[in-house]
């Protein structure tokens, strides 16, 4: 209710402005400076329809963005936003070419030293636009197109993250006893994890698309492991598991630098292909290189009686990119 009253009040203000100003400045008619020109209803209609189409296209962008299920989502978004800008551009060009007087005045504008000169400039400006017959409608249409386009540019920010519910960022399906499976749901066996190979694992029976689900699993030589003392027993046989979501920008850590021959190559590392954040799997996921600000969260694993890998608990830290506040672990 409040909302509607605000809108009505805003519209009244907007539409009433011109009328009020006209009433306030009566007086003698001054001689024209800008030569009079004929009104151009066709051009005005063209500008109005372009502004309307720009509004529709911008709202279309918001609609496509909100639906988020269309087959050619990206192309449609691009077309909608592009059309909105194009219609706005056509409206501006037509206004400038056909509606506003654009006769050149050769003298430079004098400094508005006195009241007389300032009134003259105001008069020039107002007479330049007196070819408009539907000025207020045009102003409203332009305002509408501008608002819709502005909204279309701001709305995608919604995707940057949950607005209020930040608990979703910390939720993870991993807890003690959850089995590690591959993308097809087959359990990962400890014996099958080979050194110098990279495995992706998911929690058995949970949503794979959640930010807290995917893992990278690698087997290191147990003698090379240098985990913090409180993580004792997290890496049976040298098998370590980390969150696959980079702590910098949330890409998938899909690169494993696996030296074939240690003495002559860089040490083993998990690398994110987006910005080359490089993590050390041997020391608990610490950052070796790149823009990431905190280590990859590690998941304790153990081997059950059937030789399958199961989680020994939750992650060592917050999963996912470093939103404000998450950086402090």
């Amino acid at each position: 209710m409040m909302f509607w009253r605000l809108i009505v009040a805003g519209l009244t203000l907007l539409l009433g402005r011109g009328r009020r100003r006209a009433a306030l400045s009566p007086g003698r008619p001054r001689p024209r400076i800008v030569p009079p020109g004929p009104p151009s209803p066709h051009a005005e209609t063209l500008v109005l329809s372009c502004l309307l189409l720009a509004t529709v296209a911008a709202i279309g962008f918001i609609a496509v963005f909100a639906l988020d299920r269309l087959p050619a989502q990206t192309q449609l978004l691009g077309i909608a936003l592009g059309l909105a800008f194009a219609f706005l551009a056509v409206a501006t060009v037509v206004t400038g070419k056909r509606l506003v007087a654009n006769d050149e005045i050769s003298e430079p504008y004098p400094e508005p030293a006195n009241e007389e000169a300032r009134e003259e400039i105001e008069q020039i400006v107002s007479e330049s636009t007196d070819r408009f017959t539907r000025k207020r409608l045009l102003v409203v249409a332009a305002g509408g197109a501008g608002t819709a386009l502005g909204a279309a540019l701001v709305v995608p920010a919604v995707s940057l993250g949950p607005l209020l519910d930040t608990r979703a960022l910390k939720r993870s399906p991993w807890q003690a006893g959850v089995r590690l499976v591959d993308s097809l749901g087959r359990p990962l066996l400890a014996d099958e994890i080979e050194p110098e190979s990279l495995y992706t694992a998911f929690p058995a029976g949970a949503e794979q698309n959640q930010v807290g689900s995917p893992l990278v699993v690698v087997r290191l030589e147990p003698s090379r492991l240098d985990l913090p003392p409180e993580r004792h027993g997290w890496a049976p046989g040298g098998i370590v598991a980390y969150s696959k979501i980079c702590t910098h920008a949330g890409c998938a850590v899909s690169l494993y630098r696996a030296p074939l021959y240690d003495p002559t190559s860089p040490r083993p590392a998990l690398v994110c292909p987006c910005h080359y954040s490089t993590f050390d799997p041997a020391t608990g996921g610490g950052v070796l290189f790149g823009p990431a600000g905190r280590p990859l969260p590690q998941l304790p694993v153990r081997v059950d009686a059937h030789g399958r890998l199961v989680a020994g608990g939750g992650f060592s830290g917050s999963v996912g990119p470093s939103w404000a506040g998450v950086r402090t672990r």
Partner: protein, 245 residues
């Protein structure tokens, strides 16, 4: 009758065996000239610590070649990855240092220490769609989806346009330099066929978007788009505007 069969069998087999033996001997000689300082007298590898510093100018520090088989030997020699000038150098794809016959001899010698044979991928058996999916999951992170190569921190992932089907299949099993290795359980031979078929396709990709700009990726594409759009905007501005006197 049986003795005749045995005689025929021996007649066929012996020259072959003798030829293989000669090849191994030739390989041993080449090994002694080119490989021995890093990989050791019996191909047992030389750890850096076992070499006194400055001894004969030898740096040492090459891995053991026992059990790597013809597969690894053929890969490293045919891609020109080996021999390396210095052990810590990153191997790069270049023209092989040995002729085809010399490579065969060296491969036969290394294979005599045991290990897997040279794989024979058959890309025509594979499926391009499956290859695309597997390449996306396992290879594109480093090599890019267009197989044009890329970076890992500290190393270069080479482009795959010069790699032969056999070399691709070998690299998948070895994981050369810092590449991870893929076991038969992770990627079966049929799946390797599909990957090879996809990589062959990337030599001549279908660019539905039009101009490929060397498949350099989205950032150069964006720069080129901005450049073209900027030129178009200047043209439009000139068209609708009026020049100052």
């Amino acid at each position: 009758m049986r003795s005749l069969a045995v005689a025929v069998f021996l007649l066929v087999l012996l020259p072959g065996a003798a030829g293989a033996q000669a090849s191994i001997e030739r390989g041993r000689a080449l090994y002694a000239q080119g490989c021995i300082s890093c990989h050791g007298a019996q191909a047992e590898g030389v750890r850096r610590s076992s070499v006194p510093s400055g001894a004969g100018g030898l740096e040492g520090a090459g891995p053991s070649l026992h059990g790597v088989g013809a597969l690894a030997a053929h890969f490293y020699l045919s891609t020109g990855y080996m021999p390396l000038r210095r052990p810590a150098q990153e191997p790069k794809h270049r023209a092989p240092s040995y002729s085809g016959r010399e490579i065969d001899a060296l491969v036969a010698y290394i294979a005599s220490f045991g290990g897997p044979g040279i794989p024979a991928p058959r890309p025509e058996r594979g499926s391009e769609a499956e290859g695309f999916r597997l390449f996306t999951e396992n290879c594109a992170g480093c090599h890019q989806i267009a197989a044009r190569g890329g970076l890992v921190t500290g190393a270069v992932a080479p482009p795959l346009d010069r790699a032969t089907p056999t070399q691709i299949a070998e690299a998948i099993r070895i994981g050369p330099y810092v590449m991870p290795r893929f076991s038969r359980r992770q990627l079966g031979d049929r799946q390797v066929d599909s990957i090879v078929r996809y990589v062959q396709r990337t030599d001549d990709p279908v660019d539905r978007g039009g101009w490929s700009i060397g498949h350099l990726g989205p950032i150069p594409e964006g720069l080129v788009a901005w450049l073209l759009a900027g030129a178009a905007l200047v043209a439009v501005a000139r068209m609708i505007g009026r020049r100052a006197e």
